[in-house]
Symmetry: C2
Subunit: 351 residues, 2 copies
DNA sequence: CTGAAAGCGCTTACAG
DNA sequence: CTGAAAGCGCTTACAG
């Protein structure tokens, strides 16, 4: 990086005050007379002065950086890109920046965290992709390192490992069931993943609660062997045939829902008409479906803002459940909830 | 961040040497006797010492950080997530980290860059999403700030604004045309975007060259009004009807290709059989298509590694064009190129 | 090869 | 309210 840096010395000389008065004018305005402050600010403006980050942070004993791990083997997703945008903006609003790092020891490894902590390179962490039994929350909490998780930290023995924000998948799926019921469906199935993740269980439980609310059968469910359209199609087939075939399917993800739609067509049925299908994620796949795929959108911006507010202590809550938003499209044109009510209100928009 | 930091003082005391000898053992091993070095390293190991980043960087007059801007209004994409993973890994291999920031003044604004430069918060930048007439490369180059762009910097008056890496979309589309020709197609259309971007022109030019290579008509092309399936379907319709209808369509993106497939079905034709369709991006949409969508995959890891190598001066090239990879699927089962040859070799894999 | 000195550019108590 | 002093934890020439 070339160019002579403008330092606090230059500003002090220009304003005709000492260096610490410049520092005070910038960091503790109340300890400086208004006229002095104006003088300093003018000099700062003229010279385009910005405090050297390293010097400031070294003196202030902070890093000005929040660490965020991108495990290299995670499936890339547009949603995580969106979340990262929002996180970056939220962290910036706090005068800090996001520092990215990888996990050489796997998605839940702590080595990368340990390095950054030892080097005092970050002030805290934001976690994502937490899984049941994830060692990271406990590990960080044990060292007194500030962090917040996007996604539950899955308490052990009823004890939370640390603060988290999550999207209420159960409420969304429950509302989806109510919406499908309002549409006239009475046999509503759930299609999850074979791998038992917390997110999947959460969504399935919401579907189950919705069916129970309305006296609908709760024995219609299946599990895709993978998060793929092919696996979704295979798993959906048995749910769509026979005398007690489902007329609606709540799928655990968009890509599984796309598979369900494929199975619907293969069975000679019309998607959205004979069989309603909903997904989860509201990604670009929703546009790949004729008439659009009804899906659940996660509020990335709200999640990011809440995470940062908790990290800085502005938000004292240890656990925050945010409602998702149902985006209603042709594959399952659930009405906005003027026509029905659910125990937990989840916004629905038509598109 | 709690806990007393282990400093170079502790290590020096433990090893029975002075602080600068510890520093030398770590940063300039050759200036220290082997036995001393071993002693120091043992103390470092025992104490779990890591140099304080801020102190090190302040003394060394560097930031240890590479800035990367995430414009908040950019359409989120799984590919950018993948690229960021790879960039993070590549930067880490160099002992640095990625710092994220936003662009309050729009996708090509320079305010965010200016702040970070003034604060000496980064050592350089990686640019993406450059557009024709993008002010950023010239602005950075004018200040002598190190940067590399992923995506051409679109020279003005023949002068490059700075180093870049890009994926050769023209070569990929040209190869696609040759592959479709090998499949028996003689009327191959191109479907681009109405908005004239460099990437779109690049791909269209490759299609044109391929058709010219093989003596095929070059008047079959259209432009979608947006990067959406609906726009793709509308724009594809006229290409698929009439006596001189196309039997294959090279689409500028996956989502446009999905629209083309919709138009193919709407015209009563069978995708992949009557009409071949290819996309570009190789995102999750490829799995939304029955039999899969043939697409072009960008080598995110190679791009990231090259960008970082240029940034650090390890790679002296100012402009690097990397081949994409064609992933052949049911929508256009182009053969691996043992059966045909193209002017520029682009790998094809079946999937 | 090793250590005493100076300095990186700030902030934070602490006198005046 | 303002400024002289000390210090944040390192690295970098420079003597010994």
């Amino acid at each position: 990086m070339p160019g002579q840096q403008v330092t606090i010395r230059h500003v002090a000389a220009r304003a005709g005050v000492s260096r610490q008065t410049v520092s005070n004018a910038l960091n503790a305005p109340h300890r400086v007379e208004e006229s002095t402050r104006a003088l300093v600010l003018a000099a700062v403006e003229e010279l385009g002065y910005r405090p050297n980050r390293n010097a400031r942070n070294l003196a202030a004993q902070q890093a000005g950086l929040i660490g965020y791990c991108l495990p290299t083997d995670r499936t890339p997703s547009a949603f995580m890109d969106r979340f990262l945008h929002q996180l970056t903006a939220a962290v910036e609003a706090d005068g800090k920046h996001v520092l990215l790092f990888t996990a050489p020891d796997g998605p839940t490894g702590t080595a990368g965290y340990a390095e950054l902590i030892a080097a005092r390179a970050v002030d805290g962490f934001v976690l994502t992709d937490t899984v049941d039994g994830d060692p990271r929350p406990r590990w960080l909490a044990g060292r007194g390192v500030p962090f917040v998780s996007f996604g539950r930290t899955w308490p052990r023995d009823g004890v939370e490992a640390g603060p988290w924000v999550d999207v209420d998948g159960a409420a969304a799926c429950r509302t989806l069931v109510h919406g499908l019921h309002a549409l006239g469906h009475r046999r509503i199935a759930f299609l999850g993943w074979r791998d038992v993740t917390g997110a999947m269980l959460d969504r399935r439980q919401g579907w189950h609660a919705g069916c129970a609310d309305l006296g609908l059968p709760t024995n219609l469910f299946g599990h895709a062997l993978a998060d793929s359209a092919d696996a979704g199609a295979s798993a959906a087939e048995p749910l769509l045939t026979g005398g007690d075939a489902a007329t609606a399917v709540v799928a655990v993800s968009d890509v599984v829902a796309v598979g369900v739609l494929r199975a619907v067509r293969a069975a000679g049925l019309r998607p959205g008409v004979d069989v309603a299908v909903t997904g989860f994620d509201d990604g670009e796949l929703t546009s790949a479906v004729d008439g659009g795929l009804t899906s659940v959108r996660q509020p990335a911006g709200e999640v990011a803002a809440t995470v940062v507010a908790q990290l800085t202590g502005r938000d004292p809550r240890a656990a925050v459940l945010l409602p998702g938003r149902i985006v209603s499209r042709g594959s399952a044109p659930v009405p906005v909830p003027t026509e029905f009510s659910t125990p937990i209100p989840v916004p629905i928009e038509e598109q």
